[in-house]
Assembly symmetry: C2
Homo-oligomer: 441 residues x 2
């Protein structure tokens, strides 16, 4: 890599070479049968070079040095055609990196067989526990990635590691009732995926859903589950922490560092080193050391997250949140593992205290939310009516509101905490909110 | 491949091996600058084997015979764990294939440089023609694919070919007005991408959009452009032609062959051999000969389209519409090139005759439509108010309705016809609809 950097310096004032080599095995379920087993992989190299403030960025599907040289030349041609980016400062310098946790090499050469077995076991268990349930879909996967980021300022970080995930979607049919699709999942840095737990939790909710309860317009306590929380916050709250949005004036959190923006029960941080993190990375996509960044501490907003570019534009420092999009090659501000700190009591305890309210497993339509102000309008489905401390059946309703108003209504957080490997990776408990206005459907 | 089929027959009653090798070059624009140039490619092999009605499906990222053998064994293990599919009949037999048009080998080894040049030219032209316009985004791409499908019944079809596309997104800023993103594009089987035409059309609409006109609740003629049509029909109408949906009773077109379902001005067919088609394929994803399939002829519904599996379940024949999803490996019913037959007069002529109405360039929210009944609720944006035969400015409004009701309101089709390379590939003119109810916003 050293040679390639020297080669690139003939064309550029500064340059970065990032090489990714990945291997992904997976298996899928469709309607109680295994529908597919796959093994895929490959290499991608991204060249980012800057000459007199002009950017060149080239991507190739190879880690072969000769092809990397060609890509450097490609990026150099492109930089010549571009205008100067007056805001450009520089690529990052090396930093003080933590010691990376040892990767679990057992995942490196995993066979799809293991996933097929786990899925077959999940299907069998689910059908035994509920003969009316169909495993409509599901997937198991193991990914392994090697990443090597070097730049002409001396950054040189190599990391590798992997994670495994497993999910099932159950649909129950009983009499005239067809339940909504009920998802449950597990994700971790080893192969001890909790198939039994996934099935137990999903079957429980399918059972609840055999009874359908009408919802109505009311103001009630609601408990949101990890999937609902991750869906809603990914589109309404998390973008607001981006330093790029601070510079571009598209975050409602501008000027609010140190202010209370949520209920005191809420503490949220981004932490690649959390014990449940799927990717305990020591450096971000441009080689800046990662760290735990507190976003909200007991309801108080603590600060924005930054990549190298926008931090320097703003005269501050990267928080190690530069993540590379392998499709566009570009670096954007994003999270490693957003953690919502858990509480003391169990979900069961919280449900037992509700006279009338709802437990929301998932939201539909969160992607249409507006992160500029936090407004959202979503359909709660799957969702469940709670009466007299017990789940009575499935309901569908609408919630339209503002995420900051909602966060101020949080009253308790559960002890249970789940890693959501989809969308932004989040480690989240269940959260109870008081007096939420809902529209029956 | 013959050897691999023989090898697979040790494990399976029938099997299919489909090998795909692709190469994609592309370049992108962000905010007036070239943001990326990429060259990617690779091979994918999908094994589909059936033993005593049990399916095994394996995917690998290679076309190496040894790895294909491993994948066959993987698929065989999986088939053993699956239940019998009682509906399974057989893989297809070879058919009578048309002669494939000669591919344009000029695209096979295209360099991203050509695309960078075209994008640079597009940016320059756009900014010359409208100094208030920013090229917010854009992309040029050339793809080449080799496909080889063989099965144990003697199907053995090799095809290769490529296509190129180009699009720009312009945003204009004048005084307090920021226009919506205005897209225009070209796609074809050679590199003569019409950069000037893309810029001219986009700049014209940006100019229109500098004037903002309020919309109101009214019943008016609207003209839909190719992007709006492709978006709306992909989610509301096209799924209804699927034979799988006929079998599963989820299409409103069941029992309606020969009935009038749209205005007489509308003729719609799927035709991979249309002169503008980007992929003139002679066989579908499972090696069944393709053909022109008429869907709607002068307003009358002519029939469903089928892949091998659902056709045999239904006791009919595949129409050559089995398309492979390289992510899941599965075959699904889909289209090659949906053509809406064009008319005689120009878009200009149609606009000139409208006293008050709208031209809709794009719809938002079409993906939430219900293909089971054709109901939709979309936001028209970008859209333009027409008064006294002239475009007056940009408007945003809502249209909620049913696609079949809308299709019955079609009154005229333009001569101009455009290939839409996104979502379902469609070749579509502009269509005028009468007395459409809209809700002002």
């Amino acid at each position: 890599m050293e040679n390639l950097i020297r080669f690139g310096e003939k064309f550029f004032d500064e340059l970065e070479i990032a090489v990714y080599r990945s291997r992904d095995v997976s298996a899928s379920v469709e309607l109680n049968e295994i529908s597919m087993a796959s093994t895929r992989g490959g290499a991608v190299t991204v060249i980012r070079g800057i000459n007199e403030g002009r950017l060149g960025l080239a991507i190739i599907d190879s880690d072969d040095p000769e092809r990397i040289k060609e890509a450097i030349e490609q990026a150099a041609k492109m930089a010549k055609l571009n205008g100067r980016d007056e805001k450009w400062v520089s690529l990052p310098e090396p930093g003080a990196y933590k010691e990376a946790p040892k990767p679990n090499y057992g995942l490196k050469e995993a066979s799809p067989d293991i996933l097929v077995e786990k899925l077959v076991r999940g299907i069998k268990l689910a059908r035994e526990k509920d003969p009316n349930a169909v495993v409509a879909g599901g997937e198991g996967g193991v990914s392994w990635e090697k990443r090597h980021v070097v730049n002409s300022h001396g950054v040189d970080v190599f990391q590798e590691g992997g994670a495994a995930f497993f999910f099932l979607e159950l649909v129950g049919r009983k009499g005239d009732v067809v339940t909504p699709g009920i998802f449950d999942f597990d994700a971790r840095r080893d192969l001890n995926l909790d198939v039994d737990g996934v099935v137990d939790r999903a079957v429980q909710r399918v059972r609840w859903a055999y009874n359908v309860e009408k919802s109505r317009n009311e103001e009630v306590p609601i408990i949101l589950g990890p999937w609902a929380i991750a869906g809603l916050l990914s589109y309404t709250l998390l973008p607001a922490f981006s330093g790029e949005r601070l510079v571009k004036e598209t975050t409602p959190l501008a000027g609010k560092v140190g202010e209370k923006i949520a209920s005191e029960v809420l503490t949220i941080y981004d932490d690649p080193f959390h014990p449940l993190s799927l990717e305990p990375t020591v450096a971000d996509g441009e080689g800046v050391p990662t760290r735990k960044n507190v976003l909200i501490e007991n309801g108080t907003f603590r600060g924005f997250v930054w990549d190298n570019y926008w931090a320097k534009v703003n005269g501050t420092e990267s928080t190690g949140n530069g993540k590379r999009d392998l499709k566009s090659g570009g670096i954007g501000i994003d999270f490693h593992n957003v953690v919502i700190e858990n509480g003391k009591r169990s979900l069961e305890d919280l449900i037992a205290e509700i006279d009338r309210g709802y437990f929301v497993d998932g939201f539909q339509g969160a992607h249409s939310s507006n992160p500029d102000n936090g407004n959202f309008a979503v359909t709660a489905n799957p969702a469940f009516l709670i009466e007299d401390g017990e789940v009575k059946g499935a309901s569908v309703f609408l919630v339209a509101g503002n995420v900051y108003e909602l966060l101020n209504r949080a009253s308790e957080i559960t002890r249970e905490q789940t890693v959501m490997p989809f969308m932004t990776t989040m480690t989240t408990p269940f959260i109870k909110f008081e007096n939420v206005k809902i529209a029956g459907k």
